[in-house]
């Protein structure tokens, strides 16, 4: 019980970049405690009874929203769903207006997904409720980073020394950023793989390797995380065709043969079958994609529980 002195005092979960290794491990440990809630006949605990969680989603997302809704429900919180396409037009109701309106109804936790990086941080500065980031622009998707890390840790025991490749559109990926922070803090060696046109500026200032060749790295990695190609963010045509992208960066059956036998294949979903990953690989024995989804629930329950705890900590 060496973690006895540790007090979780964060009221918000904005990103993993700000968290210490200890804090990340504390969330993962807590998530472990929540796993069994989903395996029993009555999949509900009264922990957040009487609390109100708002799912404030300004971007399409079925899975993350469902996962958060279910997590909140399993902790007996009441959930308000608020879905609205965000507009960059600043006339009409602003994000702040929306949040203040919701807050006036007496809410406790806001789960926000927004197309603008920084929107959750902005919100956390301006309202009293706890804020949980469910993905903001290209910035972070902390619960995804946590569930990816949780999944690897659960199977491998630890991330220390593991070689992990994150493949695809790094530039527009909040998942990649949150994964990088969580995984490197827990001791993994992360290599980013993708075409140069999908690498963000000065990414090498983070503790990662960058490679433009998937074939050069697949032989060594213990975990490979295939990012989804987001066609809606491809306005600038960063590669000539899907066919050519798949040729260089797709996880094919042929490439799988060159990988370690026990490599873990991950994907944040939803999958573009045949684009970044071939169906046979996605559904194959090395794939932990569905475990990621299951673990996401435990992680999100832990996060909702912890931000609520953090809000209770006395100064």
């Amino acid at each position: 019980m060496s973690k006895k002195e540790f007090i979780w005092n964060r009221k918000h979960l904005i990103g993993l970049r700000d968290l210490s290794r200890e804090e990340i491990e504390y969330i993962l440990d807590t998530a472990q405690g929540f796993e069994q809630v989903s395996t029993r006949s009555i999949k509900k605990a009264p922990t957040l009874r009487g609390k109100v969680v708002v799912n404030l989603f300004f971007e399409d997302s079925t899975r993350t929203r469902n996962s958060f809704t279910l997590a909140a429900n399993r902790l007996s919180a009441d959930v308000i769903e608020f879905t609205q396409k965000s507009s960059s037009v600043n006339k009409g109701e602003t994000l702040l207006d929306t949040a203040r309106n919701l807050e006036a109804m007496g809410i406790d936790i806001v789960v926000i997904r927004h197309s603008a990086g920084g929107a959750p941080k902005f919100l956390s500065r301006n309202i009293n409720a706890s804020v949980v980031n469910a993905g903001d622009g290209y910035c972070e998707h902390p619960t995804q980073g946590l569930l990816d890390t949780f999944t690897i840790r659960k199977i491998r025991g630890s991330l220390e020394g593991l070689k992990i490749a994150i493949v695809g559109d790094i530039a527009h990926s909040r998942v990649a950023r949150s994964d990088i922070y969580a995984m490197t803090k827990l001791g993994a060696e992360v290599t980013l793989v993708g075409p140069p046109t999908l690498m963000p500026a000065k990414i090498n200032q983070l503790p990662v390797q960058v490679s433009y060749s998937l074939d050069a790295v697949i032989g060594q990695v213990d975990v490979i995380n295939m990012l989804r190609i987001q066609f809606e963010r491809m306005g600038t045509n960063p590669f000539p065709s899907i066919k050519e992208y798949s040729h260089y960066f797709g996880l094919t059956v042929d490439r799988m043969k060159k990988m370690k036998k026990d490599v873990l294949v991950m994907h944040p979903g939803p999958i573009n079958r045949g684009v970044e990953i071939e169906s046979e690989v996605a559904d194959g024995p090395n794939s932990v994609i569905l475990q990621q989804v299951t673990n996401g629930l435990a992680v999100r329950m832990a996060v909702l529980f912890l931000v609520n705890q953090g809000a209770m900590v006395k100064e």
Binding site: T30, G33, F34, Q36, A45, T47, Q309, M312, K314
Partner: protein, 175 residues
């Protein structure tokens, strides 16, 4: 600091508890032991070992984490914060007689939380409460079925149960 029970006395109490549980059991009862984290877990294991020996059959034994069911979870927190740990009950509790084990019965709030947690796991035939120490000061209408030692203490005193597994030695003290 006053020593309430020494190491030997603790062992005696556990034996006595086991005897009493066995004596009250009816033929055909399916008994399982579930300890409440964290001291109840250790006590539960010892009690289950003692019971298994007496009944000459390995009793199922599990651990219950009641953090999610605590009624003070949304109170302001100071220097201590509940850590959620996993409930490890590797058997079906339906139709079993559950011996719920805790180190100390005081306000009854942990027992209330534990009962709620157990009922979310299934439908036991009965839940019996076994504790090492029962002290006065109940805040809920709850009482123990099997008690190692009853004590009457003023509210400002606290009872601490130490076990070899968690604290290096077995003893029960009053501070």
């Amino acid at each position: 600091m006053e020593v309430l029970l020494s190491s030997d006395k603790i062992a005696d109490c556990i034996t006595a508890l086991a005897d009493e549980i066995v004596s009250k059991a009816a033929r055909g009862d399916k008994i399982a032991v579930i300890g409440i984290r964290s001291r109840g877990e250790i006590l539960g294991k010892r009690l289950s070992d003692a019971l298994s020996k007496k009944l000459k059959t390995k009793l199922p034994c599990g651990t219950l984490d009641i953090t999610l069911y605590r009624d003070d979870i949304n109170n302001p927190q100071g220097q201590s914060q509940p850590l959620v740990r996993s409930t490890e009950i590797g058997f079906d509790i339906d139709d079993k007689i559950i011996i719920l084990v805790d180190d100390v019965l005081y306000t009854g709030r942990s027992t209330r939380a534990a009962m709620d947690a157990l009922i979310d796991l299934g439908r036991p035939k009965a839940i019996r409460l076994a504790v090492l120490i029962e002290r006065t000061g109940r805040e809920l209408p709850i009482s123990a079925d099997f008690v190692g030692l009853k004590v009457d203490l003023p509210a400002e005193k606290s009872v601490q149960v130490n076990f070899v597994e968690s604290d290096g030695k077995d003893r029960v003290i009053v501070i």
